[in-house]
Amino acid sequence: MNMWRIAIKEWATLRDVKMIIMMLATPVLLILIMGTAFTNSFNGSATVGEIRVLYEAPDGEGALAEAWGRFIRDAEAGGVRFERGSGAEDGKLGVQNKAYTGYVEVTEAGLRYYGNNRSGIEDGIVQGLLAAFADRYKLAAEAAKDPSGPQIPAWPGGAGADYVQETAIDAPMQPRAIDYYAIAMTTLIVMYIALSAGLFIEDERKRNTAVRLLAAPISKMDIFAGKILGMLLANTASIIAVVLISKYMFGANWGDNLWMVFLVLTTQIAFALSLGIGVSYMLKSSAAGAVTMTIIQLVALFGGSYHRIADDGTWFSEVARYSPLRWTNDGLVHLIYSDSYATASIAMLINIGFSVLLLAVAVAALRRREGL
């Protein structure tokens, strides 16, 4: 009963309007800023600017001139403008000045293309088009050598300008930037709970209320457990609020099973609390805060809080496997996007396991200590 009394007392801090604003605004703003700033990094498509290409090609009624003419008409219908140049020098200068994406010389001997590396996507599109034209023209020329065989038009023209088409079978849903950072920033903020947890007894000492608590006919364990329970409930409530705000204000995808998401986050809150408390009891000094902060920064860096980490076999991705944040983030991503409970369950078990271990260390230190 006294444990609950102390736990409920911890809620008194939630009456502080400034504190509530800080607790909610910080993660919500981070989600918004990161989700907006990194939108392009998470998009499957990219916006392409105007594509203009200078060319030099033979005039007249030759097969090449005819095929090229049809090709550039088709290309223009697809948004790529080919303009006849006035010599190689001017053409290359136009490309250097970024007025044109590329310059191409068309001769019977082949195509010679000068592209601008700084227009990466546009340059790639032009190269793809030219390669398609060259292949087709070469095929038509080979076929023309044998008049008895089937004839292939050098460039058929008309509809059917889908030069490359990719179809994925059962493509998995991928998080957008706002979805990813809703998860990453929420779990990052949860880790920061460790800092305040490290001060949970120190605050009672500073206010001298530790004396009153210890003088009351309740056990140290009641005080300890009550404070942890109170902080767990208060922080869970604020994190649920952050999830709901990001979901309904920014449209972040938290999946269909919100209760499971809350459960995973609650176990992470328990882990963060235990980390802060465990370190503060192990070090018993002001260094505890600095150590906790360093741990948070490292698990955040390797946990994918600031950028998505690919499993590419680099040392960074190998180290990232051991970040507690990564476990929780992966668990949530699998839960939301694959409806898979397995990774989330493992994350919860690891969070709970470490919580028990760290709290056991703190309890052992508490029993030996005079006072809290």
Binding site: R5, K9, R207, V211, R212, L214, A215, P217, I218
Partner: protein, 311 residues
């Protein structure tokens, strides 16, 4: 009936002996003054009685029960008013009192009525729903007391309850202590203000280096130094006074200066008044008045410990 019985109490912090085989008895209905300079060991004694510190040796009995074996019983019957304010700024006055009283097992209507009673006793009823951050220093001190008495403890420990407050609040608190005592609580009172102790306490113990060096009523303590005389000399200005020279005069035991008033404790048998006056005049001091004072607790303390209570 003995409310508190301390036998051979010892507390060590490493090699340092903070309390050294201290024995003490406090009877029901007493206001017991515990005097000692900073570091003398009185807070350590109080903390052991309140079960805040573990005992290294000896034992403490509250109402006849060993507190090491009956810790819950002992804690339930003790109310502590810590020297530093021990209240939550983010809870109202009433919530503070109810929270702490609740830890003593009070529930429901009883909890509410006891909390209101404690607030009324400390004159904070009209501030029950206000947050302590809006309180004056005196009001916070009163709330500090209210949090300690709502569960009606048999023994109340007050550690410097009037530090840093205005005279009006101080008088209020001193009257509250008397009232609590009249209502049946036994009180342990520590203070740096000797006049408070003289006014309130029925018995006093002087503690120094972890030991009780004197114990008794005010009259009994003053009787310890009947072989002392206390000479009070008011100077026009004490600038340039060399107390060390006065201490070297035969028979002089203590020299204390407060403002321009010089208090000299001397052996009653030694006739050294003319030597004292000569030394003062030689130092260029101008004497405004002079009197032979009755020994007070300050003199007693100074004589027994060799230092002022505020050292």
């Amino acid at each position: 009936m003995n409310v508190l019985q301390i036998n051979q109490l010892t507390k060590k912090f490493g090699d340092f002996v903070a309390v050294d085989r201290l024995s003490l008895t406090i009877k029901e209905g007493e206001i017991f003054g515990l005097l000692g300079a900073n570091g003398a060991g009185k807070s350590t004694v109080i903390n052991m009685v309140a079960s805040l510190l573990r005992v290294t040796g000896g034992e403490i009995e509250l109402l006849g029960k060993n507190i090491a074996k009956h810790t819950k019983f002992a804690k339930s019957n003790i109310g502590i008013v810590p020297q530093e304010l021990a209240i939550y700024e983010d809870m109202t006055a009433c919530e503070n009192v109810k929270f702490f009283a609740g830890l003593y097992g009070l529930r429901g209507k009883e909890l509410r009525s006891r909390a209101e009673e404690a607030l009324a006793f400390t004159g904070l009823s009209d501030k029950r729903d206000s947050y302590p951050r809006s309180f004056s220093g005196g009001m916070k001190r009163r709330l500090n007391i209210a949090c300690a008495i709502a569960h009606r403890p048999k023994l109340i420990i007050m550690d410097e309850p009037t530090v840093g407050i205005d005279p009006q609040s101080r008088n209020y608190i001193l009257n509250s202590v008397k009232k609590l005592n009249e209502m049946g609580s036994t009180i342990i009172y520590t203070s740096h203000y000797m006049e408070e102790v003289e006014e309130l306490c029925t018995r006093i113990a002087i503690i120094d280096h972890g030991k009780i060096i004197a114990e008794g009523t005010k009259a009994q303590l003053k009787a310890i130094i009947t072989n002392q005389k206390d000479i009070g000399i008011e100077l026009r200005s004490a600038e340039g006074l060399q107390a060390e020279k006065l201490k070297r005069i035969a028979g002089v035991n203590t020299v204390m200066l407060e403002g321009n008033v010089l208090s000299i404790g001397s052996d009653a048998e030694v006739n050294n008044l003319s030597s004292i006056l000569q030394e003062l005049m030689a130092s260029g001091m101008e004497i405004r008045s002079m009197a032979a004072n009755e020994p007070n607790l300050e003199t007693v303390f100074l004589t027994l410990t060799g230092r002022s209570l505020r050292d």
